[in-house]
Symmetry: C2
Subunit: 274 residues, 2 copies
């Protein structure tokens, strides 16, 4: 099983830690070791795919993870949007070219992105112009799943209000995010229930950690503060476990089908009719 | 006693809450009630002074607090720097004009800003280009005190490394922040100790809260999470108390003297020699 996931978000929203938590190993290095000299060149965005082998519920998943360092770090961020969009469309162009070849390339690799996790910084207010712009522009080309990074910054009440406000913004600006679609007439009760629950969690409140602690006899991933320990997999502390299950198990196929049968097809039609 | 304080930082860095915590009452409203329609117009920055009466250790302080909503919220933030700088210089221009008047204006109010608290978002990495630019450009006109907003986002180890990295950046970019200056030859031991301790805390790790909880029989300001309660005034949880004491008591005079005798004089010399 293959899956291609992209993570986008401003520096410091917990993207790198999330990826390492998802893969249960340090697949992405932290750039915190960069010296002041190296760190402050306005470099635009760096799009870097890496290959990871995962196992979820006995199923082996070959995952391509694409990190996008540098998004939102510049004083003017206009071209960052364009670089990500170009990357997504380039993968569609490769499929288009391959489709029309008389002699197929046996080594061809489908690198279309099946889901883009957009990390909203936990401000506690509303979507910023940058968040709206990005999601709106990318949603026609990829399944955009909004997540709140470092959600342990927010108290339960603040989180509820923040999630509600973000979904109102998403509604108001007609941003077509991936919202776990279901058909009340076609789908069975379990599917409808599962999808409505996931939809109700949007945007997912994410906490990531590369450290483990002993809690109630179990070694669990968490963040230890002087006032307590946040448990990554505890549903009262974070939506991480639910999101991981949706991405790697229950909704993997749906994300791929929507990408191939809908998003790609739309792009193809648009491109060929120009 | 009069003091003028400005708070600058991107939306969601905890500025409003900090001000309300400092004044122990809701002097600044939260804009979280804005609807999506109102909130997303690129309005630039809003500079709004408010007057507050405080009491610290029996001394009455008439404080002017200046909030700067909208900083860093736009896709292109260049003009925000300029608006803040213009505000600071305008107050100097007023003094300059008043100084040269033959007939003094008895109702003249000195609105020079004595300290600017710059809220660094708790990314855990390093200063962003925007942070460096802002502090570097404003430091010649006002005492800039860097603080880390919402510092309860960081574990003790992350906070230590973040503070260290920020101070390295400040050093590397020669940003002349207010660093609790002392004279080893002139000042007494207590003053030297006090100032070195405050300097060592830079940038101050701030947690703010408008809620109170019962902890060990005392009603204290804090933030309650499912995993524990952060206490605003607990020095192991936040540097809030130390900063408040410095601003309103121990270093109030120093901040004003530097503004009047050094920063203003430099501006005056520059302006009159053009
Ligand atoms: N509070 C909190 N901090 C986190 C979380 N995940 C990562 N961090 C910390 O935030 C800092 C930046 O994280 P990183 O994953 O490198 O962010 P990135 O720049 O978005 O890739 C580091 O100090 C992390 O330890 C989280 O879920 N909650
Ligand atoms: N984790 C954390 N959240 C805070 C802190 N102070 C305020 N907040 C929350 O962050 C959100 C935005 O705070 P606010 O003070 O309005 O930020 P501002 O936009 O910078 O003025 C609200 O949900 C606050 O309750 C803090 O010290 N730590």
């Amino acid at each position: 099983v293959q899956l291609t996931l992209m993570v986008v978000g401003a520096s410091g929203t917990g993207r790198t830690t999330f990826v390492n938590t998802l893969c249960e190993s340090e697949v992405l290095p932290h750039t915190i070791d960069q010296t002041p000299e190296e760190a402050h060149i306005e470099t635009g965005i760096q799009i870097k795919p890496i290959q990871v082998e995962l196992e979820e519920d006995g199923v082996r998943i070959a995952m391509t993870l694409i990190d996008t360092k540098g998004f939102g770090d510049n004083i003017d961020n206009e071209y960052c949007f364009q670089e990500i969009l170009s990357y997504l469309e380039l993968q569609y162009d490769h499929i288009l070219a391959e489709e029309s070849r008389i002699r197929r390339n046996p080594r061809f690799k489908d690198q279309r992105v099946h889901a883009l996790l957009y990390f909203i910084p936990p401000t506690g207010h509303a979507l910023r112009e940058m968040d709206i712009e990005l999601m709106k522009r990318l949603a026609p080309r990829v399944n955009v799943i909004p997540v709140i990074g470092k959600s342990d910054t927010l108290t339960p009440k603040e989180l509820r209000e923040f999630k509600k406000r973000i979904m109102e913004d998403i509604e108001y600006y007609s941003i077509p995010v991936y919202n776990f679609p279901y058909d009340v007439e076609e789908d069975d009760e379990d599917t409808i229930l599962d999808n409505s629950e996931l939809r109700a969690l949007l945007p997912f409140a994410i906490v990531g950690s590369e450290e483990k602690f002993m809690i109630n006899g179990e070694n669990v991933r968490g963040r230890r503060y002087p006032w307590g320990i946040v448990e990554v997999e505890n549903p009262d502390h974070s939506d991480f476990a639910r999101l991981r299950q949706a991405l790697l198990m229950t909704h993997l196929t749906d994300l791929k089908e929507i990408t191939h049968d809908f998003l790609y097809e739309n792009y193809r039609t648009e491109k060929l009719s120009r």
